[in-house]
Point group: C2
Chain length 423, copies 2
Amino acid sequence: MTDVKEYMKQVGEQARSASRLIAKADTGLKNKALFAIADAINAARDAIGQANKLDMDNGEKKGLEAALLDRLALTPDRIDGMIEGLQQVAALPDPCGETTDFKYMPSGIQLGKMRTPLGVIGIIYESRPNVTVDAASLCLKSGNAAILRGGSEAIHSNTAIATCIAQGLKDVGLPADCVQVVSTTDRAAVGELITMTEYVDVVVPRGGKNLIERISRDAKVTVIKHLDGICHVYVDQTACLDKALNVALNSKTHRYGVCNAMETLLVNTDIANKFLPNITKALLDKGVEVRGCAATQNVLTKENLTCIAATDEDWSTEYLAPILSIKVVADINEAISHINHFGSHHTDVLISENYTLARQFLTEVDSSSVMINASSRFADGFEYGLGAEIGISTDKIHARGPVGLEGLTSQKWIVFGDGHVRT
Amino acid sequence: MTDVKEYMKQVGEQARSASRLIAKADTGLKNKALFAIADAINAARDAIGQANKLDMDNGEKKGLEAALLDRLALTPDRIDGMIEGLQQVAALPDPCGETTDFKYMPSGIQLGKMRTPLGVIGIIYESRPNVTVDAASLCLKSGNAAILRGGSEAIHSNTAIATCIAQGLKDVGLPADCVQVVSTTDRAAVGELITMTEYVDVVVPRGGKNLIERISRDAKVTVIKHLDGICHVYVDQTACLDKALNVALNSKTHRYGVCNAMETLLVNTDIANKFLPNITKALLDKGVEVRGCAATQNVLTKENLTCIAATDEDWSTEYLAPILSIKVVADINEAISHINHFGSHHTDVLISENYTLARQFLTEVDSSSVMINASSRFADGFEYGLGAEIGISTDKIHARGPVGLEGLTSQKWIVFGDGHVRT
């Protein structure tokens, strides 16, 4: 334990020191580093493959479930994906140095804001070793040093990738400490990482709800996170029901295991009889289990459509599965109250053609993404043009919604004078 | 203790519930509330004066020092100031609802960002009761509910002001719980306030370094704070020495007890002989004590100017007093290293006519305000056009530098579609 503490302190000091150098690296140098890392990964395909085989064999011996093993696997396609990811991040605009809001103040000084790196970012993730490259590339491009702590089941793969990242950094003359992969699998290392406020500026946990809850509870460093994606689509009586059907179906069935999938459908009572049978048929056709409130059940059983009774727990459950809860509500006010109370402030959708209701929904729904007549699946860094995302934040502090390069930066005030003094 | 916990929970629940209503109040209604509070304060001058006399008498009995008693006093001028402050905040633009970065994405959706309140803001402050009104007005205008916890020595004054705020809110039909002043002086209330993450979104401590350190250490809620203002002016050999003299003198002597006053002067060795005697004479004339490094002492003693030897502690001390430490450095690189190491990331100034050095200083100095040829005293919410400030942040997360209305808000993503689905 003392050893881990000492080791993490050293990692932290090295990261802080490297962060000063990556912060002043210009865009060209950072891009060169990203390409050099891509080259190093390409040249080390065999070594990465062997390291990954070791992790896979260990995982099988330990009896890891199939889904975890699948995430752990670094197929040639996934290695291609890592290389492409690096090239894509290199192609993104550099957020650092962007200077905005320049204006002369009454005192005569010229005032603006300049975007700057945060410093040191800690990333804590589970089995997928390709996160090592994704996270490293976003931190580097945004001028930050990174401390990466992957899952113990991926330690050999992550170490092999770390070697490539270090190689790429050294090739262009940047310190290898700009990206450090924690080499111990001791759990105490996470405890240190999330409390070393002198060395770490932000922590981004990526993984299951349990991991994120534990980290949020114990962290002293700021955490950028989302716990749940309990997303809603509310179909008002002013909706175009064709749009409602398409958007609701896409929000639920485009992918099931993702945080921006719809988990609860809210339907205005005035259109329940008309809309509920159609959407339910479409959902059942796709193999989705439907759980409804009493009113929903009433409508659906009349039509001989299968609908399980929803319990109170359903309204606050993220299924991440082909299951949907449906509730009939009196009006938009009840829908908004339900969303703000049971939702997770992730992404919520109104289907309506009414201007006034659209304005109300946009203002009153307290979520990181609020949409009108569009699928909740659009809440995503790529769809929002961020190029890539380090995560999605359901908090309101610092970063909200999909977090890309900009979320890993801050702004400082800059003042130009000509000998100006305050009187 | 259990009672305090229960009481604070109730305060928190009431604040969360009120926050939903103030968040959707329109600009006109919020401004009306600010004017109504101003009217209520104006009508209650006698009651506020009597309550303040009670606090002053108690303070004198307890032997509070003169500076504290001065801060506690609510003179008629200060009551005028509170009323004017409310009117000024009413005149500021409403940050909420501001919608920016609207654009069509390749998928056809239209994406933008809308500024929103944070929710519930906790403010913890010490003796000055006028902070009650300042903080309440900024929270209300930015659409947030506020929980205000003032010093126990000001409890009667704060309660009298709270009554006026409640009156003003009720007069325009807003819930009085939009601004709650904690009615217990039990210290445990602070402990609750800074850990009730379900009810409080941000805490802003205003007061001495001890208070802020304690709160930062124990808080689970995000804290917007600055601990220290160790500000530097670096005079390069490329400086215009007239500007250097004026700016350095103003940065130090315009006011001593403020966080944006210069505490350390850094001087390039090539101009030390020429510049140090002039600035020191001017400082000594103003009654400033000068503490210098060995090189500084060398130069000054040759000129028979008094200069105490600076110790290592001086470089990391915020004097808040007519004392200045001076260090001779080899070049801008040493100056920047010194600032980033010993400074508090508040405000730092370069004096130079050189374009390349200006660019380097702006990029590499890791402070909330970085200035060229302007007095550090400009780092201020009013000078920056924010209208008023709730505090200054030396952190990089969420808000940095002077924090006005915008720092009390967040942005959510809004998406307009026409039945768009993801394919």
